[in-house]
């Protein structure tokens, strides 16, 4: 017989998956709003973030209830702890999508504004990371989560390239400073989103395998031994 508690856990997972899909959509729209200089899409991202905030509180409350009333242990406990953190990570990703959408709104006011060529590449990689992080949670697939962790370095490299390029452009052409600063803002927010997807992946590994992989914890443990 399935326990009431198991149904509550399933319901928590469903809520997180729902939140994940809203966040993915916000992210896609924020990138589209930059590429197409579309203020309407940017407005939609900002508006939809309110829904994400409400979902975060709803999920937080469900988690508090489960912890207080069910005293979970083992994989159930790890799932709930992972859910608590993933909930927070998704909410932060949506906030970064809002930052990107706001950069798009500024872009729209600037004539001849264009993003560095690395931004679409960063956006594509980050989109895949976000999708795979959420999928790894839905499917409870630690190898998919591991793949997300490995991809993060590419985004860090691209972010550094964008920053370097922007500095050069500003030096040679100071009147583009406003536009270039928005490019840095977009790049930095993409880099933060990629970091948060790795947090989600780390939580999936913690939940499914009871391993702590964040901050290179396993390597440190081995070298301390």
């Amino acid at each position: 017989m399935e326990r009431h508690f198991q149904r509550e856990l399933e319901s928590l997972k469903t809520s997180l998956v729902k939140m994940g899909s809203v966040v993915e959509e916000n992210f896609d729209r924020s990138i589209q709003s930059v590429m197409e200089k579309n203020t309407e899409l940017a407005d939609q991202v900002i508006e939809s973030d309110i829904r994400v905030d409400a979902l975060e509180i709803e999920i937080d409350n469900a988690i508090v209830d489960l912890l207080a009333l069910q005293q979970p242990v083992a994989s159930d406990l790890r799932f709930i702890l992972a859910a608590l953190k993933i909930n927070n990570d998704l909410e932060r990703i949506s906030d970064h999508a809002v930052n990107i959408a706001q950069a798009a709104q500024t872009f729209c006011t600037l004539t001849n504004a264009r993003v560095p060529e690395e931004i679409p590449q960063m956006a594509a990689i980050t989109k895949t990371m976000l999708k795979e992080a959420i999928d790894s949670f839905i499917l409870l697939n630690p190898s998919m989560a591991q793949k997300v962790l490995k991809t993060d370095d590419e985004i860090d490299d691209l972010n550094r390239i964008v920053t370097k390029k922007v500095i050069e452009v500003i030096k040679s052409n100071p009147e583009t400073v406003e536009c270039e600063l928005e490019s840095v803002r977009i790049s930095r927010n993409l880099e933060r989103i990629a970091d948060l997807t790795t947090n989600i992946a780390e939580e999936v590994i913690f939940h499914t395998q009871a391993r702590v992989v964040k901050h290179h914890a396993e390597e440190k443990k081995r070298s301390d031994a």
């Binding site: 326990r3 508690f5 979970p72 242990v73 083992a74 994989s75 406990l77 790890r78 009871a210």
Partner: protein, 251 residues
């Protein structure tokens, strides 16, 4: 740390029914070890092996070696009275004798002729202090123990074990007749007692095992499925059967 109780290939039979199957377990001293598992898994049988309480049941048979402080307790030379002084037991329901508080505490001492009567008052005071009953009962030592609350009765039963200065205290569901607050207070008492005693507790209540013990052994249909540090076993069990049991998916 050297183990205080060890079992090697322990098999236990009630007639033709095998209640414990090839149990190899090593219990460390001055720790609380919880035995958990569904009804009929053998946890009460196992705890009763450690002071040979099962000897009183007809048709039981024990195979394997059981060492308490390095001595094989099922050898012919074992003196059961000495063994039970060393390994005390607290039962499910408080079972004070229908005697005064004082006589409950001195009963064992008289039987074992351990002390001269003159010395009892000090032992009584200390044992009641150890179970946090002294302030409540110091003026009621001649009152019947049956008039105490259930929690006080259970504390008195623990004190009755302590006067014999055992090394090991076995507890078979010691809180099952108590309310939640009394249960928490007995658990607090166990934390105090483990500074000087080794405690092995059988419990149906998994949250109690998680809260109160240092080590946990999970038994299922007579087998020891998993044994390890309580915090590890309740956060990341290695065996699927343990996981399924502690998360309530069976049992």
């Amino acid at each position: 740390m050297k183990p205080i109780i060890e079992t090697f290939h322990l098999n236990f039979f009630y007639g033709s029914f095998q209640a414990l199957i090839d149990i190899n377990l090593s219990i460390e001293g001055e720790k609380i070890t919880a035995l958990i598992g569904p009804s009929g898994c053998g946890k009460s049988t196992l705890v009763r092996v450690f002071n040979r309480m099962n000897d009183l049941i007809d048709g039981v048979r024990v195979e394997g070696r059981i060492l308490v402080q390095g001595e094989n307790i099922y050898s012919r030379e074992t003196n059961l009275i000495v063994l039970r002084e060393k390994v005390g037991m607290v039962f499910q329901r408080p079972n004070p004798f229908p005697l005064s508080v004082r006589d409950n505490l001195t009963f064992g001492l008289d039987i074992h002729q351990r002390e001269h009567k003159n010395d009892y008052s000090e032992i009584i005071e200390q044992s009641l202090k150890d179970v946090l009953l002294w302030n409540d009962l110091k003026d009621k030592l001649n009152h019947s123990a049956l008039n105490l609350s259930l929690e006080q009765q259970q504390r008195l039963c623990i004190a009755r074990v302590l006067v014999m200065k055992p090394q090991i205290i076995l507890m078979d569901e010691p809180c099952s007749a108590l309310d939640p607050i009394a249960t928490l207070r007995i658990e607090e008492l166990m934390q105090e007692l483990k500074k000087n005693y080794t405690i092995v507790i059988v419990t149906h209540n998994m949250q109690q095992a998680a809260r109160a013990s240092d080590m946990t052994a999970f038994l299922y249909i007579g087998e020891l499925v998993e044994y390890g540090e309580t915090k590890r076993l309740f956060s990341a069990p290695k065996e699927k059967r343990t996981e399924d049991y502690i998360t309530g998916r069976f049992g």
